[in-house]
Symmetry: C3
Amino acid sequence: MDSSSSIEKDLELIKSTSPLIHNITNYVVMNNTANGLLAIGASPVMAHAPEEVAEMTSISSALVLNIGTLEESWVKAMLIAGRTALSNGIPVIFDPVGAGATSYRNEISRKIIEECHPSIIRGNASEIMALYNTNTKTKGVDSTSSSGSALETAKLLAKETKSIVVISGETDYITDGRKVGKIKNGSPLMARVTGMGCTATAIVAAFAAVNKDFFHAAMHGMAVMGIAGERAAGKARGNGSMQVYFLDELYNLTGEMIKKQIQLTEE
Amino acid sequence: MDSSSSIEKDLELIKSTSPLIHNITNYVVMNNTANGLLAIGASPVMAHAPEEVAEMTSISSALVLNIGTLEESWVKAMLIAGRTALSNGIPVIFDPVGAGATSYRNEISRKIIEECHPSIIRGNASEIMALYNTNTKTKGVDSTSSSGSALETAKLLAKETKSIVVISGETDYITDGRKVGKIKNGSPLMARVTGMGCTATAIVAAFAAVNKDFFHAAMHGMAVMGIAGERAAGKARGNGSMQVYFLDELYNLTGEMIKKQIQLTEE
Amino acid sequence: MDSSSSIEKDLELIKSTSPLIHNITNYVVMNNTANGLLAIGASPVMAHAPEEVAEMTSISSALVLNIGTLEESWVKAMLIAGRTALSNGIPVIFDPVGAGATSYRNEISRKIIEECHPSIIRGNASEIMALYNTNTKTKGVDSTSSSGSALETAKLLAKETKSIVVISGETDYITDGRKVGKIKNGSPLMARVTGMGCTATAIVAAFAAVNKDFFHAAMHGMAVMGIAGERAAGKARGNGSMQVYFLDELYNLTGEMIKKQIQLTEE
């Protein structure tokens, strides 16, 4: 089965089973994230009270942890939910928003990775690099710099954490530490809409909910994001309409569109 | 006066008096809720600090309590605000988002009903059924199932709580325990936009702020939602544009449009 | 250099340097605020954990403090961030949302002004008047009323706080206590979109990040808001599309458009 057929199959599974995706995410993007998940046919739920997150996670098909606007009580909830997911075989998708910007974000990222063992980690190049430097204290910044590029760092991070690592950018890279997938879809206008990366993480979670091959789930989610994004950018007149058209494109995405537009390679 | 004229009259009152609606609601929908209220001419305010909610509620014309992303300190604020509303004769409109999904939501829903005596409760069928089973511990799930349908449960809940109960769905049902109103307006696309139900609750609150006959206030609010929703769905290409067009339709809604489109019955 | 050239120069600086704007703001508007900043080329970050705000502020070029949905822990973070900004020479832009509505908002507003010495304060007429009455306890409501108008109050507030004070409205007024700038751009439809004032505050912060003449930074930010707002209102069919078009207009704003439309005077 070629890539576009596999993506189409996953997309149909999402639409037919409408998996519940539990999001503990940031305030800025909650609305977009929920609408992105609804657009592809998944069922979003947001809940962050320590009193209820274990119960909510345990009825979900995937858990998104996103530290964009973290604070103590939310971190507590993330760890409870993440450990619940781990012990129930529910995939955890981790978005280390702003890792590297503050030591608090680095510390919490390390804790989430250690205690929740995310199936997939998605960030931009600097977040992934910060994560690796943070996670492997002894290596520091220099050794990473010498490792050449964010992709090499992502491979090391993937090997060490046993997570699939996704770097979003002009080209998206997906790696399990050995294999590397590349997706060249997308548009620069996506970076001008707040929370597009966070939406990508949630969409990847929806694919992980229906496809236990997490490397390919991540590939499929990122491909769908990129294709919807470039279709929307072709119509948008700015970042306001981009946000609207992006959801509409995601909502209307067909196997044929995917087949026609996809720019994906796997090595 | 026929239904469409009564709705038009309430709508004019909302536009001319611009009632302040105090919302203690969830993070996902705050922006939509505020814009929905502004679209029909009401004045939204969001405030959740225990230090100020009593003061804010006491200058408001209606209070919305929505447990979509509840947590301990917010629940505390909801109860303070709800009791303030109760003792000042300000209607409380309760949205039990996710009731039934976790025991925490069930417990808090019960508390809000007991301590704040909402004038109107609005939820989807499963939330209303969960609420009834929760609220009347001794009956359990079975007796409700045997009561036949969500509408029968809604009637029982309305009788017991002395609240108007609204079930949103393909057909919306509104009941005081005896009378039943039905509204057949709306579109399936509304369920693909996050927080459409939460907006409905806030719009109902705006009608309750100007019409003390809460059964009809609920009818009018739900009718306006459904009519704006089906007008928007006729133009939308997905859930992105649906959200935008819905606000525009709400903003431009006239008595003539209501008269032409309304599908409302009362038994 | 005339006004439109100065604005264009600042706008180019924002686009070329992409200043990081740290926002501790309210839940309702976070998404719009972030997209507004992205539209003009600035880089938004939201962070409110007391553990990290000092670190985040210290790498930022301006700090927005907005009390729209304040609560104890957020106020704590605002004061930490504000004091950090103050000691690092980073401008603090304060938005006293709802000042006057509750005594808690008045008290916190007073604290923020005293401890963080905002470079610019932006509010609507009633917020600015409430702020002055609050800040200068001994004067009470009456003396302010006799001072004639919100502009006179704004001048007194500016003198006392040494902040630039901005009153948003049909005409925007900007004052340092002596000079007064007036901007007549904008549209009444802006007031029907939630958080438009909060976006104005953030846009002003982006200008303050690149222009240390805060009186003119405030003028430029408000002018850009008004021009984008009236362009968007010319196309919008309601408050839904207004929000979308506003971002698109901000995204596409050119020096030529500014020159053609600007209605600004300075006395």
